[in-house]
């Protein structure tokens, strides 16, 4: 029988939630890495027992953790727990994220724009998003702050920057959003291993068609009133991008303001905000089996960053955008003031499609009927940063 494993990253640890295919009763494991910020945990599509986790702290920096048994045990790649200390240098550097400064590939790299408009050097802070390869459990990508893309091909033991992204040359016009200058979205095209999409706050979306060597901005059609040139090539605060694997050329974007859609791999975007009560938000995701069914959670902004009117409502469009319906059954409809962050929504691939999201109030909600009704799996976790789902068996 099918199982579902939900991987939850919070401000103070990670949690693993499991259920059978009915998705009615849940086992909760955790906190793992208690006290640490867990920005993202994600499983390998090629080996569901291989999980990668980003563990970080403003005090102690970045740690990468790996599980080879579905989250029961964890270790830092290259430094298994319990191994006897050995003389000499460390065997691995799984938490070593160093920007490429080599003359051959790092040379074109630049400074970026700081909050005050001055130029500022790149400074590594943390891994926001981990994206395992679709085919190789040992290959995994990491989107980091300050914005750059790293790749490991040895199970997370060593990381190397794909410097063609920062080498693109528009870096001096990238700038941090309120959460920092983060590369938060990495999407791998299942039909074309050469093609990847990434998104950065606040630079925009980029695409590679040569497996990460070179990149192009794909922001035509975006309009951002808060930057000097609202239609600029880069500088847009893209919050998240989602894709249904069955239609890899169709992308859905939640921008700072505006919900957008592209039907040509990001070359052109059009607005699909339609009748949303506010088109500000962070998350966006697509139904596993219905590629025109899209989910967002509108958020009141610019300053509040909680749901409007004290009501937690997921909005669903079954027409690929523009026409949205509020989904409220099982969700609090009064005195609710939570946020749902950009990586905190995911879908499973069961029939019916399950939809999951986590809130800044520590609730993780699940819907086993594509959003028609919702139930909290857990209510009182630390603030949720990310939610990922694995459909097993």
């Amino acid at each position: 029988m099918s199982k579902v494993r939900v991987l939850v990253g919070t401000r103070k640890g990670a949690f693993v939630l499991t259920s059978d295919g009915k998705r009615e009763k849940w086992d909760v494991s955790g906190p793992h890495f208690a006290g640490w910020e867990m920005y993202h945990i994600k499983g390998s599509p090629a080996d569901p027992n291989r999980l990668y986790a980003s563990q970080s702290s403003g005090w102690f920096g970045q740690i990468i953790q790996r599980s080879d048994d579905g989250g029961k045990t964890w270790h830092q790649p290259g430094t298994p727990p319990g191994e006897a200390p050995a003389p000499g240098p460390p065997k691995a550097a799984s938490n070593k994220f160093v920007y490429d400064a080599t003359p051959e590939t790092g040379k074109p790299l630049t400074t970026h724009q700081f909050y005050d408009g001055t130029q500022h050097p790149w400074e590594f802070k943390r891994v926001w998003h981990i994206e395992p390869s679709l085919t190789d459990p040992d290959t995994v990508y990491a989107g980091v702050e300050d914005a750059a893309l790293f790749r490991s091909t040895d199970g997370g033991e060593n990381w190397h920057e794909l410097s063609g992204l920062r080498g693109h040359g528009t870096g001096p016009r990238w700038q941090p959003g309120a959460g920092g200058m983060c590369l938060h979205t990495v999407i791998l095209d299942p039909s074309n291993p050469q093609r990847m999409y990434i998104a950065i706050s606040a630079a925009g979306a980029f695409r590679t068609d040569d497996a990460g060597q070179t990149w192009k901005p794909i922001n035509r059609g975006l309009y951002s009133q808060y930057i000097p040139d609202p239609r600029a090539e880069v500088g847009h605060c893209v919050h998240h991008v989602a894709m249904n694997p069955s239609r890899p050329g169709v992308l859905f974007m939640q921008k700072h303001w505006d919900v957008m859609r592209s039907d040509d791999g990001g070359d052109n975007w059009k607005e699909i905000s339609g009748n949303l009560p506010t088109d500000f938000g962070f998350v966006i995701d697509v139904h596993a089996h219905e590629p025109e069914t899209v989910y967002v959670v509108p958020i009141k902004s610019d300053s509040e960053h909680f749901v409007p009117d004290g009501k937690l409502r997921v909005y669903r469009s079954r027409t690929g955008g523009n026409e949205w319906e509020p989904l409220t059954k099982g969700l609090p409809q009064s005195h609710c003031y939570v946020n749902v962050l950009r990586d905190a929504m995911a879908v499973d691939s069961l029939d019916k499609c399950g939809v999951y999201f986590g809130t800044s109030g520590g609730q993780v909600y699940a819907s086993a009927d594509a959003g028609d009704s919702w139930t909290p799996i857990v209510r009182d976790l630390p603030a949720v940063l990310s939610v990922e789902v694995q459909t097993l068996g």
């Binding site: 005090w59 102690f60 920096g61 970045q62 740690i63 727990p81 319990g82 200390p85 460390p90 938490n95």
Partner: protein
Amino acid sequence: MIRVILPPHLRTLAHVRGDVELELAGAVTQRTVLDALEARYPMLRGTIRDHATQQRRAFLRFFACEEDLSHESPDAPLPDAVASGKEPFIVIGAIAGG
């Protein structure tokens, strides 16, 4: 023998309880102590000093013998009491946030 006291998060990460004891040959400085610490516990690399610059991370401080050594040269000799193991070298997280 050098004694090092780590903050709780790093003890958890390194799977140690209590003080860490290190044997050092030669000069006893912040750099040699931290090099020995990281060689024995590779998972601590990058958590105390930046990977690229080897600078102390901003929210960490170094203390010994009731003195703040955070801004001393990493190559300055540590106090004799640290070198002899009488007093520990203490890595402590700045008290901010939660």
